[in-house]
């Protein structure tokens, strides 16, 4: 065999190996959660709130946590989009390729690396100062803080990929910077923005640390922002912490529900992106 062919097959082998490792560990997670959780999964789990004695293995479900998680993730992701899109537009359309922009980007990158428990602790400190009790509102605030840099950087990368000639064309028609940003750049970037939104949504719904100190926990479905709320990751955490095997099984079943939500979302985002790419230039 020629040296170039050896090199070729060696790297091919390495790539296959690393792909197999990643896909394999993902499947292993799925399999172990499914294996342990499926026996405990039932219709009651997703249609009922915990009845008395649920946590010692009696009747009920975790509808409270499903709804709480959705409220929390939708609220926080929507808020961080509201904050993140203008900041990303500021970076690409106003700052451009300047030093200022790279400075802001570095700050955001650092914020992306901060563990979510730190955001939780930060909001918890504010709650102590305000003498506030844990509630859905503070949970949303904590998750928004931790999602905002992710969202901003994700959208920023999408906006950077918008071809420069599209901006030039629009400016040449007499558009202001605002019109270029809102009517053309954002529109062209819409599929990517949707992907960023759902990526952050997945992170929000799966995060336990930011809400551990801020959102509380309750067996009821929250009806207002000042109510405490349960979330799926917290439900997994608390059920897993009990000594009873049947409750631990339910923790895995809750994990399955969480996985199904995340997978559904990512499929929805693919479908949505495809719909939105109809008009954009490639």
């Amino acid at each position: 065999m020629k040296p170039s062919a050896v090199e070729e097959s060696l790297f091919r082998g390495l790539m296959i190996l690393s792909t197999a490792l990643v896909v394999g560990s993902l499947l292993a997670v799925f399999a172990s959660v499914a294996f342990k959780g499926l026996p405990a999964l039932s219709v009651e789990m997703i249609t009922q709130t915990p009845k008395g004695g649920y946590y010692i293995g009696k009747e009920g479900g975790i509808l409270n946590a499903i709804v709480g998680s959705l409220y929390l993730a939708i609220g926080a992701t929507a808020l961080s989009l509201l904050l993140g899109l203008p900041v990303a537009l500021f970076l690409t359309e106003v700052c451009g390729d300047t030093r200022t922009a790279s400075y802001y980007r570095r700050v955001l990158d650092v914020l992306c690396g901060v563990p979510s428990i730190v955001y939780g602790a930060f909001v918890f400190t504010i709650m102590i100062v305000l003498r506030a009790r844990a509630s859905l509102l503070y949970g949303i605030v904590a998750v928004t803080l931790f999602e905002f840099p992710l969202m901003t950087r994700a959208i920023d990368e999408v906006l950077k990929k918008v071809p420069q000639r599209l901006r030039e064309t629009t400016y040449a028609l007499g558009a202001t910077r605002w019109e270029v940003a809102t009517r053309v750049v954002t529109r062209q970037a819409l599929p990517g923005i949707l992907s960023a939104f759902l990526l952050c949504f997945g992170r929000a719904i799966g995060d336990a640390a930011a809400v551990l100190l801020t959102v509380g926990y309750t067996d009821n479905i929250p009806t207002s922002l000042s109510d405490q709320a349960a979330t799926l990751p917290l439900a997994v955490f608390f059920q897993l912490a009990t000594p009873m095997p049947e409750v631990q099984q339910r923790a895995y079943a809750s994990g399955i529900i969480l996985l199904v939500i995340v997978i559904t979302l990512s499929l929805a985002s693919r479908w949505g992106s495809k719909k939105l790419t109809r008009y954009i230039n490639r």
């Binding site: 599209l166 064309t169 629009t170 040449a172 202001t176 008009y279």
Partner: protein, 253 residues
């Protein structure tokens, strides 16, 4: 054609990007009607000159511009001059066809809607501009389709229609046919020829044959300098500068 009444006058125009002097002291008058070709080898400053007319050079943060460009006697290079108004009066067609991410109809209606132009309803304006760009017959049943589905030739004529919809007086064309196949290129060229009686068309090209075919007036540029300019026939038959002569004869460029 009346060359005595220029629509654009350039006075001592200098443009630099950092260390690079892209345009060196340009002085020229552009006739009010007809096709003015800006000719020269790649990198000679043709596109920079073109983008100076609608101040698109300012999008490059490194660009430094000095000198005057008079549009109907008013210096549009003055920072106080409304650049939005300038770009309404001076339309542009880029080198690569660039449809906006919306339907064919919305592409043409984009400018008029943005500027709130009235005096003609939008549908009528879209039809008129698509006709002027020679695209109406092909597009009349496809108005709601995404513009990116069009062939590149159609996309470039759509760019033309979109520029016309804002009712400009001057049309800047930056090698508008260089990304197209010969048939589409001819189609775009034919449309521009049909418009030259009503518009001042500035046409950047590095193709000598194309310049000979379409231009009424020629600017020859070399290394950021305006070497020579004059009516097309004289420029191609009796150039005075040796560099122009060499370019026209195909020795350089």
């Amino acid at each position: 054609m009346d060359y005595n009444e220029p629509v654009l006058k350039v006075r001592n125009l200098n443009v630099s990007y950092g260390q690079l002097n892209a345009l060196k002291n340009i002085n020229v008058d552009i006739p009010r009607r007809g096709v003015t070709a800006i000719l020269g080898p790649s990198g000679c400053g043709k596109t920079t000159l073109l983008k100076s007319f609608n101040r698109l050079v300012e999008l490059n943060p490194e660009a430094k511009v000095s000198g005057e460009i008079l549009l109907d006697g008013v210096n549009v290079n003055n920072p106080d001059y409304d650049v939005i108004d300038l770009r309404k009066r001076v339309g542009m067609i880029g080198q690569v066809p660039t449809p906006l991410p919306m339907s064919v109809y919305d592409n043409v209606a984009f400018g008029p809607r943005m500027h709130g132009l009235d005096g003609e309803n939008t549908a009528a304006r879209v039809e008129r501009c698509l006709r002027a760009a020679g695209l109406w017959e092909e597009m009349k049943n496809r108005l709601r389709e995404p513009a990116n589905r069009l062939s590149v030739g159609q996309q470039q004529r759509l760019s033309l229609a979109r520029a016309l919809a804002v009712e400009p007086e001057v049309l800047l064309c930056d090698e508008p046919t260089s990304a197209l196949d010969p048939v589409s290129a001819k189609h775009v060229e034919d449309q521009l020829m049909g418009l030259k009686k009503e518009y001042c068309i500035l046409f950047v090209t590095h193709t000598l044959r194309q310049a000979k075919r379409i231009s009424d007036y020629v600017l020859f540029m070399y290394m950021g300098e305006l070497v020579e300019h004059g009516p097309a026939r004289r420029m191609f038959t009796q150039p005075t500068d040796t560099r122009t002569k060499e370019y026209v004869e195909g020795v350089i460029g």
